[in-house]
């Protein structure tokens, strides 16, 4: 206890409350935001003092003795005597033992280091904890794994402005920490993660060493006790090139090691994938959704699978998506088949609405749903490796929704069937506002909600991210144990979704630099501001070095490692 440094005293000019008090900083000492401090108070009749821990949330410096703004000039010219005083606002984090009393003015305040810091931030009580970043003063910030793996809670939600908030980078860093910190126990190497790459090629090089990782950044990994290495077990999936009969993957800058994915026509019929082509298929106000559900049911019952994924529907052999929707159109428009396929007493207008939408989906989906490629099993996203990256960046919005919806449902169903929580599956999905918007219903939103509400017991953990939490379904966010905010838009920061941030933190969220996040976890009453190291894996082709595993050299990137992130 004696190793901690006295920094000031509790002031008596502002009232001290158990939750919040001000500390005057002594001459020759300083406090910065997020510093952890401790102050003791001896209660009457007690043998040992109680320790009140807190974190610096705000600081103010002023001239004592000045009464007018212009006095500053007089003071600087040496005309008016005044004293510079500095005070720090401290938000209490913990009372040990738990007696909620305010500190007494005049009490000595020390910076909490070592064991005291652990106690202040509840790290001492975390049996399984993983490093989630470094504080401003270079100390490790931990998160309780029990709130991540479903033991006591699950799910992570990350908010922040696109480009500067480094949401995806942080999500990937969390995965890295989960996989390599050893805190998941024996299940760690069976644990899997599924990431959707929604923008650029950022996530297509996770298995490559980052050549721009310099010694300083590598040292930060060392400080976190994490290896500075890329992901060892990665599979990359990309959609097929449109119009390419051999279904070669449509990749950008990454070409090797990428497999194309698609669903066969028989999957499409058997697994009832049709509704995922319609964003508003669950909206009861829409008449044509009845048709969608009827056709889906009909396809499941009537489609006869052929080799290589083709189907035979009502006597028509379908090899392409075009064939299939043509067959569907014929059936729903044929007066004889209409009651069976579209449903009874469905108006012509509703049929037309359905057909129109079906044809509109053709361009987006025809390369993703097909029966014209040999060995289609090779193109089924199998999740054999630890980390599965599905690239949807180059797909249209409708196709993105289709892929995300179908993949999520499949993985969730698979998990449901096994019935076991272990091994865990982490799903990283950016742009949650697109998939689980606050208003309206859609098949994907239902799956995400299901995942948020039941995923904890099923071992499916959602690491979701979005620019604006206010536009995402409340229940998805409410179920997240860990909430993270990167740089926020100032209008957004004022919304109630960020009530977990105290006022000072909200203001800070509007000026956070890339690589800095604010993390709130259930055990801590105060969110922690942390920095995470520059990715040890490549995020761009020019960063990509050799694959992970060996102790390859690290280049010297120099400068701000997060430079250029603004162009994401």
């Amino acid at each position: 206890m004696s190793e901690s440094i006295p920094v000031g005293r509790v002031i008596g000019t502002d009232p001290a409350t158990p939750l919040e008090f001000w500390v005057a900083v002594a001459d020759g000492a300083f406090l910065q935001l997020d510093d952890v401090v401790v102050v003791e108070r001896l209660l009457p009749g007690a043998a040992d003092p109680i320790r009140i821990y807190g974190m610096v949330a705000d600081l103010r410096v002023r001239h004592e003795g000045a009464r007018f703004d212009s006095d500053v000039f007089l003071i600087e010219e040496g005309v008016l005597p005044a004293q510079v005083t500095e005070a720090a606002k401290v938000l209490a984090t913990r009372f040990e033992p738990e007696v909620f009393v305010p500190p007494v003015p005049g009490q000595l305040v020390r910076k909490a280091v070592g064991k005291e810091r652990e106690e202040a931030l509840f790290f001492d009580g975390m049996e399984r904890r993983m490093p989630v970043g470094l504080s401003r003063d270079g100390e490790v910030v931990h998160a309780n794994v029990e709130f991540l793996d479903g033991t006591r809670g699950a799910h992570v939600n990350i908010s922040g402005v696109s480009g500067v908030a480094t949401k995806t980078s942080y999500a990937v860093f969390l995965l890295h920490s989960l996989f390599t910190s050893g805190q998941l126990g024996d299940g760690a190497h069976n644990t899997k993660a599924l990431i959707f790459n929604v923008k650029g090629d950022d996530l297509l090089f996770l298995d490559k060493r980052n050549r721009h990782l310099d010694g300083e950044q590598a040292a930060r990994y060392a400080a976190l006790d994490l290896p500075a290495q890329p992901f060892g077990s990665v599979e990359l999936w990309a959609p097929p090139r449109p119009g390419d009969p051999s279904a070669a993957p449509r990749t950008g800058s990454r070409s090797e090691g990428v497999t194309s994915f698609f669903w066969t026509l028989s999957d499409f019929c058997q697994d009832e994938l049709l509704p995922f082509l319609f964003a508003d298929a669950e909206d009861e106000r829409q008449q044509y959704t009845i048709v969608v559900h009827n056709v889906t049911a009909r396809l499941r019952r009537d489609a006869r699978p052929l080799d290589d994924g083709g189907v035979r529907v009502a006597g028509t052999t379908c090899r392409t998506f075009g064939d299939l929707i043509e067959a569907i159109r014929e059936r729903v428009e044929d007066p004889a088949d209409q009651p069976d396929w579209a449903g009874r007493s469905i108006g012509g207008g509703t049929i037309n609405a359905f057909v129109r939408r079906l044809y509109a989906a053709r361009r987006d989906a025809e390369h993703l749903v097909r029966g014209d490629v040999p060995n289609p099993d090779k193109h089924r996203i199998g999740m054999q490796e630890q980390l599965t990256v599905v690239d949807i960046a180059k797909l249209s919005r409708r196709a993105q929704r289709f892929v995300v919806g179908v993949v999520l449902r499949k993985t969730f169903q698979d998990k449901e069937e096994t019935g076991a929580r272990e091994p865990l599956l982490f799903v990283v999905l950016d742009e949650l506002n697109k998939y689980a918007p606050r208003d309206g219903r859609s098949p994907i939103k239902e799956i995400l909600l299901d995942m948020a509400e039941r995923g904890r017991s099923l071992g499916v953990i959602l690491i979701g991210a979005q620019q604006t939490a206010s536009e995402v379904e409340r229940r998805v966010i409410a179920n997240s144990s860990l909430r993270v905010a990167g740089r926020l838009d100032s209008a957004e920061a004022g919304r109630p979704e960020y009530a977990f941030l105290p006022t000072a933190h909200r203001q800070r969220a509007t000026i956070l630099k890339p690589g800095t996040m604010i993390l709130s976890q259930p055990e801590l009453p105060v969110p922690l501001v942390l920095e995470f190291p520059f990715p040890a894996w490549a995020t761009r082709p020019d960063e990509a070095g050799d694959a992970g595993g060996g102790e390859g050299e690290t280049g010297s990137g120099g400068g701000d490692p997060f430079e250029g992130l603004g162009s994401w």
């Binding site: 006095d71 007089l74 003071i75 600087e76 010219e77 040496g78 005309v79 008016l80 005597p81 005044a82």
Partner: protein, 338 residues
Amino acid sequence: MKRFESLAVEGWSPEFGSPVEAKREEIPGEQVDPGVELPESEWRPLPAGERREIPGRVYFVDGVRRIEARVWMSGEDEPRLGICASYAAGMVRCGSRAEIVAAEVRRGFFGQAGVPDLVTRVGTFAACPVAEDDIEQLVNGLQERMGQLEVEVAGGWGARRSRRRSARVGLGSDSNGTNPPLHSGALMLMDGPLRGRQRIPGAIGYVKSHRVQYLGAAPRAVVGQLAPRERTPVFLIQTKWTRYSWYLRLTEAQGHPWAGIVRCEAWPETELEQVRKIADATAVVLPRFASEPHKDDRAPQNLYPIAGLERQLHHRLGDRGVVFRALHQAAAEYRPTG
């Protein structure tokens, strides 16, 4: 009927009176010698700006006092009146920054002989016997103690400094040839006249208000003609005690000719040449510290450093209500000793 050409509002707040009394006490002509620097016939405003040597440091010494309570002391005889008072003195050093370098607070119990020490929870009011116990004498006693404390603060601090390096307090006190006297020297101003104070070499009295008419009509007219950074010639006052004195103007005259005029005093032991240098230095330096009307109720005469020091000293006297309650409690619990 008499006609007035213009009106002007006095710059000082009314509760502080006026820096210039309408009826000033006249001093017999022979007690003032206006001719020590220039013959009376040659009196004119002396611009100090010609001298570029200005003191590197200026010290301001001031004290404050507050009567906390009147206390009746009863015994076998008639009850006697005493006062419990707090007083403080401090010093500001104005160099590149203005710093309060010394501040002392004392508490005293003023009364006739036999007045006890009064121990309270905010501190002990030390017995300060005075000859008479009418309120005027009691207040004088307090004023005297405060003056002593001012000297103590100024002198004590000077002494501490002189142990560390050559004494620089007092203008030109290190005129040993290695340093030009004015440039490297320091100026020390005591707020108020020098009367009744122990002597600190080089200290200057700074008088804000003018209640006594020292000069005859002709030299007095020169005071009204002063421009900022100008002073009158030095004159010698020989009333009950002797001192050099001069007037200077801090700011442009606003309203009436004596607005912004202050008077300084120097000990007679100082050589006249030295006094002239000091007088020039004050005329150059003091306008810089003059206060603005919206910031001080006694602008411009109440200088910024002094106002700042007074605020700080008043603050250090403590909360009036707390002291008053402590005195109540102490008086109730008082038991004579011995």
